[in-house]
Each structure stands twice: as structure tokens, then as C-alpha cells.
Assembly symmetry: C2
Homo-oligomer: 231 residues x 2
């Protein structure tokens, strides 16, 4: 099926929302902290990607974030795109003549070896499931043959799209890559398994874990500033 052209070069796209991100974390982090934390998670993802064998990384931000420019270097560039995620990605895919990897920017536990394993899979499409039916990463040998359909149960939708288009698909099974951080309970995973900026930042602002009734719960030390807004 696939023509396998450009198989050695992997163009990586990291969608990122810099302004008012991660609203479901607002009971633990104030707006400023949520923005900082989102940047830390992006930093961890870029760090893993830089250590991997992908050739080029493009961060596509939803809004004009000047601070993103500071992350640019020989391997990483940033751009601002209007429109929904599917619209932006699928219009890029149409003219792309090399393999593509899409990695969400809220996967602070992903590592370079995981990314290398994903892009070495032989299938046309590799899907990395996230919790609750999400798709945390997609690898496409031939981006023009696929289209994304995020939101809702995107994992099942992406599997179906691959099947309908006669593309071989593989589900890449990783706990670390399955952890997209959206809800307070997800922060437990960052604190337990994280070794990067995101875990450090949470600890710095006093977020920790306590055991209550034999179960781990998130706590915020009283010595640190409480969230400015719990809206």
C-alpha cells in the first residue's frame, strides 16, 4: 500500500495551546501556574523529541505566544495556526511527502526511546492510546493517505479511518505515553513517574501526594500560595 518514500525522515508536529490551558486543573493551579505548567510539559515533550531520531520538530500553537520563540533552534521551529486541530493537520498532510509524527504537548512522561520505537514500527499508521479514548500520538508513513479526527473517542475513530483506507495499523502500548495530563488525578502520575521539568515544577509549587484511606490523593502544601482563582 505505502510507497515508503521519505521513510527515513520524520517530520514531527506538536500542537500546543499556550493561553488559558488545562482548565480542568484549576482547582489545584491558578491561571498563571497552569500556563507555566503547560510550558513545562511542552519542554519535557520537546526534550524527549530532541533526544530521539526525529529529524524536524514543528510546534503549532493556537495563539501568538512570543515566548515560544525562545524554544526555537536548528531542530525546532514554531508557528501559529488558526483553525481547529484536525483542519490544520489535515491540510498539512495533503502536501506532505515524508513520514509524520504527531505528539501532543501534554505528555510529560514520554521518553526518547518510546519515540524511537514508535517511528520504527513497520505499519502504515501507529496509534498511541491515551486515557479515555484519546490518541496521544500518531505516526503516519504517508500522511496524505490519512486524516485525523480528534476529540471524543478519537482512538476508535483513528483505528476505523486506517481500516477504511486499507492502511495497516498498530497500537503502541505504553503507560508512560498514555498519560496526557488533563485532570487533577493525572498529576499523581507526573509526581510518581516524572523526571523532568513538569514534575519539578509541581513539587516546587507545593503539590504532593498523601495517602488517605489507603489511597493516594493530591495535596497542596499550605506554605505555597493558593490558587488565585478557583473558577
Amino acid at each position: 500500500m505505502s510507497k515508503r518514500k521519505g521513510r527515513n525522515k520524520v517530520y514531527t508536529i506538536v500542537p500546543f495551546k499556550p493561553n488559558n490551558p488545562k482548565t480542568r486543573l484549576r482547582s489545584y493551579l491558578n491561571p498563571h501556574e497552569r500556563e507555566r505548567f503547560a510550558f513545562c510539559m511542552l519542554g519535557d515533550v520537546l526534550s524527549a523529541l530532541k533526544g530521539s531520531e526525529v529529524s524536524e520538530i514543528l510546534v503549532i500553537a493556537t495563539e501568538n505566544a512570543r515566548v515560544l520563540r525562545s524554544m526555537e533552534n536548528k531542530k525546532i521551529s514554531c508557528t501559529v495556526c488558526d483553525g481547529g486541530l484536525d483542519e490544520v493537520l489535515n491540510s498539512m498532510f495533503r502536501t506532505m511527502n515524508q513520514s509524520a509524527l504527531i505528539v501532543m504537548s501534554d505528555l510529560p512522561l514520554i521518553t526518547a526511546p518510546i519515540i524511537n520505537e514508535i517511528i520504527k514500527c513497520k505499519e502504515d499508521v501507529v496509534l498511541v492510546p491515551g486515557r479515555k479514548g484519546g490518541t496521544n500520538s500518531i505516526f503516519l508513513r504517508e500522511p496524505s493517505e490519512f486524516r485525523t479526527d480528534y476529540y471524543g473517542l478519537s482512538f476508535l475513530k483513528h483505528l476505523k479511518i486506517a481500516e477504511e483506507r486499507g492502511l495497516s495499523a498498530r497500537v503502541y502500548d505504553s503507560f508512560l505515553a498514555s498519560n496526557d495530563i488533563d485532570e487533577p488525578d493525572d498529576l499523581l502520575e507526573v509526581l510518581i513517574h516524572g523526571k523532568g521539568e513538569s514534575a519539578k515544577y509541581l513539587k516546587k509549587i507545593g503539590i504532593g501526594i498523601q495517602i488517605k484511606d489507603k489511597l493516594p490523593v493530591l495535596v497542596r502544601a499550605r506554605t505555597t500560595a493558593p490558587p488565585v482563582s478557583r473558577l
Copy 2:
């Protein structure tokens, strides 16, 4: 460090609580359904183990459950053990002269290939993390050199125990094996990724998924009997 004796035989232990299990699922499943569902999950785990290369499987139940006997065959046996999980396991380890695999009975998404990969790892100790700091499976080359310490953040405790005892440790990274089913949201994963008895049972009693505000939520069809008790 390890003497590697009996490395080709893997004795597998599956702890199981047959009576009043999974109390955190009570808002969706009545007591009878929780018991049935726990047996379905055990069935899925045993099915994966039977298809794998482990040599012998022992289900250790907390209480006398006659129905467990129906699962016994040449490869599977059942026993009832008094005492806490750590106490039971660690007393078994003391005299064990072959490799041991402990697999929790609430991992309906685990597969035979995952189990085979775990038991082929070369390290002295292999830990399979679950959500919220749990340890869903442990593989021990030399059980007598290790001791378990479940509950609380057992994953970090088990890593530390291996380190303190000079045992090489590996973290086995699997999304499917990370899903121990304790809370209603965990049922989403069974419905999305499950292919065994547990997923079939949930669908049969009318548990499904709806998208609300772009997020998947668990729903129970009105045509099925509501839980007897929501206590």
C-alpha cells in the same frame, strides 16, 4: 547477583477477592454485578495467562469461593489464604525455588504477549506500574530475595526494595497492563480497549459511553435493571 535457578519455569500467583469486590464501582454496579464483573476480569487474566508461557497458575482467594473450583484445570489451581496479601506472598516467596510472577486479577486488558515479554526481561525484578502508584504485576527471578509491600504507593516502594537489596529492576511500560479497574472511569478503558469477558459483560448489562461536552462519560441504559443498592 541472581543464581538464576529455575529460570525456565514461572510460577504465577493471581490474588483474588471474590466477595464484595470493587466497592468503588457501586454507583454503576450492584453487589451481584460487582461479583460477576470481578469473575469476568479474573477470567480475562487467566485467559491471557493460559495463552502465555507461564508454567503454573495459582489463584489465591481471600475467602472460600466454591465457584473458583470450576476454573481449575491442569495449569490452574485455587487456594484460600488467610492474612494480608503481603503476608501471604512473602511467606510463599521464602521457600520458592523458581521464578514468580504476580498478576492482579483486575487487569482485563492484559494479553499473553505482554505476559511473555514481562517474563523474558533479563532483570532480577520487573515492575508493571498501575495508575496512581500501584504495582499491577511483579516478576521475580528469585522470589526469596524480594518482599512485596502493597497498598499506598507500592510502585515506588517496590523500586526501593529492589534497590536496597541490590537487585536489578526494570519498569515494564504497558498501557494495557496499567489499567487495574477500580473506579467508574476505569470502565471506559474496558469498553474502549477490551475484547474479553469483562467488556462483553459490561455491554450486556447496558453500560456504555456517551460524549458530553466533548468528553466521554459512562452511561447505563435505562432498559437494564438499575443497581439494587447505591450505598
